[in-house]
């Protein structure tokens, strides 16, 4: 059992479990599954700076901060108790492409050759971590949600506006991964 749990879980196990988060949160407290709003609550709590968008009672949304703190703890538990001893398996075509950018370490779920503290001092690392993170925070809030709020909750509720947002997430990702990211990784 534990050995089975330590392997990477297949999509048909993980996907339904993630889908069940939607009714779970609705039924245990009328909460709508969405993660990026936690970033807004952190702004409202720490640095509202008289910006109207952050002038609301964030304490009413504190459940969301408990939820994301749980995700952080879940990450610790998964690595401490259920770690996969094998390197991450990736498509050979991707591995061949990444090799040309000097990425060949598959010990962690993120490529540690490009995502590490010293790399922040180089333009490549700055773009990958700082600019990338900024786009995630700015884009999700501008779109009104992320993968959880729009792609999963919104589509579950049959909202066409969430379908528009989800398609745009994917279009943006395809453009970046195929056309722009190779240039960044070559820096």
């Amino acid at each position: 059992m534990i050995d089975w749990l330590k392997q990477p879980w297949p999509w048909y196990v993980a996907g339904p479990l993630i889908g069940l988060t939607v009714p779970t949160l609705l039924l245990i407290g009328n909460k709508r599954f969405g993660i990026s709003s936690s970033l807004r609550h952190i702004c409202a709590a720490c640095l509202p700076a008289k910006i109207p968008y952050f002038q609301y009672d964030w304490k009413k949304e504190i459940w969301n901060l408990f939820f994301v703190f749980g995700i952080f703890l879940g990450g610790i538990i998964a690595v401490q108790c259920l770690a996969n001893p094998l390197p991450v398996a990736v498509n050979p075509a991707l591995a061949a492409e990444l090799k040309t950018y000097g990425i060949s370490n598959y010990d962690a779920l993120i490529p540690i050759e490009i995502f590490n503290w010293p790399a922040l001092l180089h333009p490549k690392g700055l773009i990958l971590m700082v600019v990338g993170g900024f786009l995630v925070g700015f884009g999700t809030r501008y779109a009104g949600g992320c993968t959880s709020g729009h792609a999963i909750t919104g589509l579950s509720n049959l909202q066409w506006t969430s379908l528009v947002a989800t398609i745009c997430f994917m279009v943006g990702g395809f453009i970046m991964a195929n056309l722009i990211l190779p240039l960044i990784l070559s820096l």
Partner: protein, 165 residues
């Protein structure tokens, strides 16, 4: 905080379509621990299914693996059936409240913001949820990515009135 007119509070929160959870019942704050438990289970799934993996996201955007499409697709199907059943049978919360659904009105932000988030997703290999889980797995430098995402959210709030919606 004290400057807010209470009637406006819900309206301001609703500018963000994702955070309009309104419950009339007041609970002690330790009730929030149930969301912590759901978050922990969710975080374990995130890591074990490698959804937080930069490599899986690259495969998804290069059409080199079905994994992420399977995860998101089956999550949406399960979510859709669940929401349908909750609406159809008017299932109430464990506290007996009716379940509340909001429909998001369209605005251009879903296009512009969606594209920008897509760029960020492909660069960092993470949407907001996986950022928290990645830090938990020991990738401490992701703290910088998360702080930058918080900064991005803050700048959006600052510029909101000047952006096309």
């Amino acid at each position: 905080m004290s400057t807010i007119v209470p009637e406006n509070d819900a309206e301001i929160r609703k500018q963000d379509s994702i955070c309009t959870n309104e419950t009339q019942i007041q609970h002690p704050s330790w009730y929030n621990l149930k969301y912590l438990v759901v978050g922990i289970l969710f975080g374990i799934v995130f890591v074990k299914a490698e959804i937080i993996s930069w490599f899986r996201i690259q495969e998804m955007f290069r059409l080199q693996s079905f994994h992420m499409y399977g995860v998101i697709g089956s999550a949406v199907v399960v979510g859709m059936v669940s929401v349908f059943l909750i609406k159809k049978f008017k299932i109430k919360t464990i506290y007996g409240e009716p379940v509340h659904f909001d429909n998001t009105p369209f605005n251009k932000g879903q296009i512009y913001g969606g594209l920008l988030f897509g760029f960020g997703w492909a660069i960092t290999g993470a949407c907001p949820g996986p950022l928290f889980a990645q830090i938990g797995t020991g990738a401490t430098v992701t703290i910088i990515t998360l702080l930058s995402a918080i900064a991005g959210t803050w700048v959006y709030g600052l510029l909101r009135n000047k952006l096309p919606h």
